[in-house]
Amino acid sequence: MSKQFPADPAPIPTAPVPPAHWAASYEEEPSQASAPPQANGMTALKPFGWAKDNLFNTPLNTALTVACLFLLWLVVPPMANWLLLNASWSGSSEACREAAGACWSVIVVKHRLIFFGTYPYDEQWRPFLACALFVAMLGASGVRAFWRPWLAVAWALTLVGMGVLMWGGVAGLTYVPNDRWGGLPITLMLSVFSIALAFPLSILLALGRQSSLPAIRTFCVGFIETMRGVPLVSVLFMASVMFPLFLPEGVTVDKLLRALAGMTLFTAAYLAEAVRGGLQAIPKGQSEAADALGLSYWQKTMLIVLPQALRIVIPPIVNQFISAFKDTSLVTIVGLYDLLTAATVATTDPEWRPYFAEVYVFAGLMFWIFCFSMSRYSQWLERLANRYTRR
C-alpha cells in the first residue's frame, strides 16, 4: 500500500534519499547483524572484541582495514601539519610565505570581503545583522512547536527587516543600492526567496498537472518537463539576457531580481514534482468523501487534500531547499556577487594569490555547515514522519 511509504512516489533527481523505513531501521541498529552479542565475562576485552568483529573478522576485511590505516597514515599527518600545526594564523603575507602550512591570515584579512562583498565597509554590521536574523529564523523554523501561523508572520517581518537593513534609506540608515550587495546575504536571500516564491507556484503546477482539464494539464506538464530537462545555467542565461527583451521599452529589471526570477521558475518545477508525490500519496477515498459531502474543487483541495499532502512533502521540500542553496552559487556565472564569487575575488588579490586553497576551504566549509545541518534535519523529519505512519 502506498499509504505506508508516503515520501516515496516522487523521484527527486538532485537528492536521492533511500526509502526512509530502511534508513531508519538501519541506523537505529548499527552493527547488530555484524557483531554477535558478547558473553558477559568478555567485557574487559570489549575494545579488542569490537575491533575483531568490526575490523578484522575476515581476511578481506583485515586487508581493507590495513589499506585504510595506510591511507590515514598517508593523508592525516600532512593534512594536520598543513591545516593546524604549521599554519600561520595572523600577520602579513610575508609571514605566510615563511610558514610551511596553511595561511589562515588570508581569511583574517579577507573575511569581510568573503562574507559581505563590496558592501560599504563601515556599514557591514547591517548585512551581518540581516544574516544573523535570518539564521536565527531558520533555526526557529526547525522547531516543531513553532509550526504555527505566527511563524509565517514572523518570517514576513524578518524579510521586511532584512530588506530595511540591506537597502537602508530609512531610519537614518544610508541607502545602499543592491548592486553593492554581495557574499553571504546574496546566497541566503536568493535561496530562501526562490523557495518561498516557488512554493505557491509549485502547488498550482502540481494541481494543474493532476487536473482533468487537458489545456491546463498540458501547459503544466510542458512547463515542468522543460524546466527539469534543461540545466539551471541555461535558465539563468535566459533570465539575464532574455528577460530584458521581453519587457516593454524603457522598463529595466535589476540583475538580482532577474536571477531570482530564473531560480524561482526552475525551483518551482522541481518542487511541483515533490508536491505531486504528496498528492498521489493521499488515498482516493479522501477526495471522493469530499465530493460526497458536496465540497467544491477549491474547498476540497484547500481543506482536505493539501493539508494532508503538504505534511508528507516537508522532507522533500527541505531537500529541495538544500539544492537551491547549493545552486545559488551558479549566479556567479551571470555576474552576481554571491559567496563563491566573493571567495574567487578574494583569491585574485596579487598579495594573497598563492593562498587560494585556504579561501576555497573556508567558503566550502560555509556551504557545508549549512547544507549538512539541513540534510541531517531532513533525515530527522523523515524518521519522525515514519514513526507516525508506521504503527
Binding site: P11, P13, T14, A15, P16, V17, P18, P19, W22, A23, Y26, S31, S34, N54, L55, N61, L64, T65, C68, S212, L213, P214, A215, I216, F219, E225, T226, G229, V230, P231, L232, V233, S234, F237, M238, V241, M242, L245, F246, P248, E249, I322, K326, S329, T332, I333, L340, A343, T344, T347, F356, A357, Y360, A363, G364, F367, W368, C371, F372, S375
Partner: protein, 385 residues
Amino acid sequence: MTNPVQALNSARVRGWLYQALFLACTLAVAWYLVSNTLTNLANRGVATGLGFLHREAGFEIGESLLSYTASDTYLKALVVGLLNTLAVSAAGVVLATVLGVLIGIGRLSSNWMVNRFATLYVETVRNVPLLLQLVVWYTILNRLPSPREALEILPGIFLSNRGMKFPVLVEHAGHGWILLALVAGIAAAFAVVRHGRRRREATGKPFPTLPAAIAAVLLPPALAFIATGAPLAFDVPVLAGFNFEGGGSVTPEFTALLIGLSVYTAGFIAEIVRSGILAVPHGQTEAGLALGLSPGKILRLVILPQALRVIVPPLTSQYLNLTKNSSLAVAIGYPDLVSVSNTSANQTGQVVEAVAMMMLVYLIISLAISGFMNWYNRRVALVTR
C-alpha cells in the same frame, strides 16, 4: 433547451470555459512578450532567424573532436560544443558509476573503517556546491608544475599545468580487424547468453553462461590480434624542450570538469546503490540459501535483479543531472555547448535563437534518456496480478 445560466452549472461547460479563459490569457501574455521582444530587437538592429548559423563564426575553440577553425560556420561551432558536452558527459558517467558503486558498497561494508571513509566522502561531496568543487579542481590543475617538472601519476601518464598526457596506441592496419572481431565477439556473447537461458529454462540444467560469454567476447579479438601479427606499440609522451611530444593529451579544463563531475555525482550514486541493495529484504538471501544456491548465484540471480529495479530509475536521473551539470563548464572555460552558444550569442546579438537552441538540445538529450528509463522500467517492472 437549456439557457446559458443553467449551462454554467454543468462541470463540462465550466471546464471548457476555464480552459478557454486560460488559453486566452496564455496567448495574450505570449503575444505581449513576443511583440515586446520583436520591438526591442528591431530597435537594437538585431536580425532574427537562424540565418546566422551559416555565417563565419570567427572565433577559435580550445579543443574539438572535429577539425574546426575560426573560418568555419556557427553551426559547426555549435556542433563542436555539443560533441564536447557529450564527450565529457559520457566519460563522466562511466567514471562516476565505477566510483559511486565502489563507495556505495563501502557504505554497506561491515568493516567499520571502510564504512566511515565512505560516509565521510558522501557527506563532504554532497554538501558542497559542484561549482565550488569545479573551481577548486581547475585552480589546482592550473597551478600544477610546468611540463618540465610534471608529476608522473602512473608510468607514462603525466600531469602538468598543460593538462594530462598519456600514451596512445600507434595506429596499425590490424586494429580495424581487431575491432571488428570484438564487435563480432560481443554479438556472439549475446547469442550465447540467450541460448544458455533457453536451455536452462527448457531443461533445468545450469549453463556456464558467464565463462562462455567472456570467452565469446575475448576469443575473436585475441585470434585477430595473433593473425594480424601482434601490432602493439605505444606512443609514449616524452619531454622535449618546454612541452611534451607524442602521446595523447587532454586539457586542464576537460580534466577538471571530468574529475569534478565524477567525484560529485559519485556521492549521489553511492547513496542510490546503498538504498537499492538495502531495499532487498534479507529473507530473499535466506530463501536463496535454503534453496542451496551459492553466494555468487544468490547475488547474481536473487539480489541484483531486485536491487537494480530500485537502482536504475534514480541512477538514470543522476546521469541526466551529470549531463546537465556539465554546463557548468562555462565557468572554467571548457568549450561545451553552453559556452559556445554564449559566445555566438554575444557575437551576433541573436540571444533568443542561441538560448532557445541550447535549451532545445538539452531537452532532446533529457527526453531521450528518460525515454530509455521508461522503456527499462516497463521491462523490469514487477508483474503483479
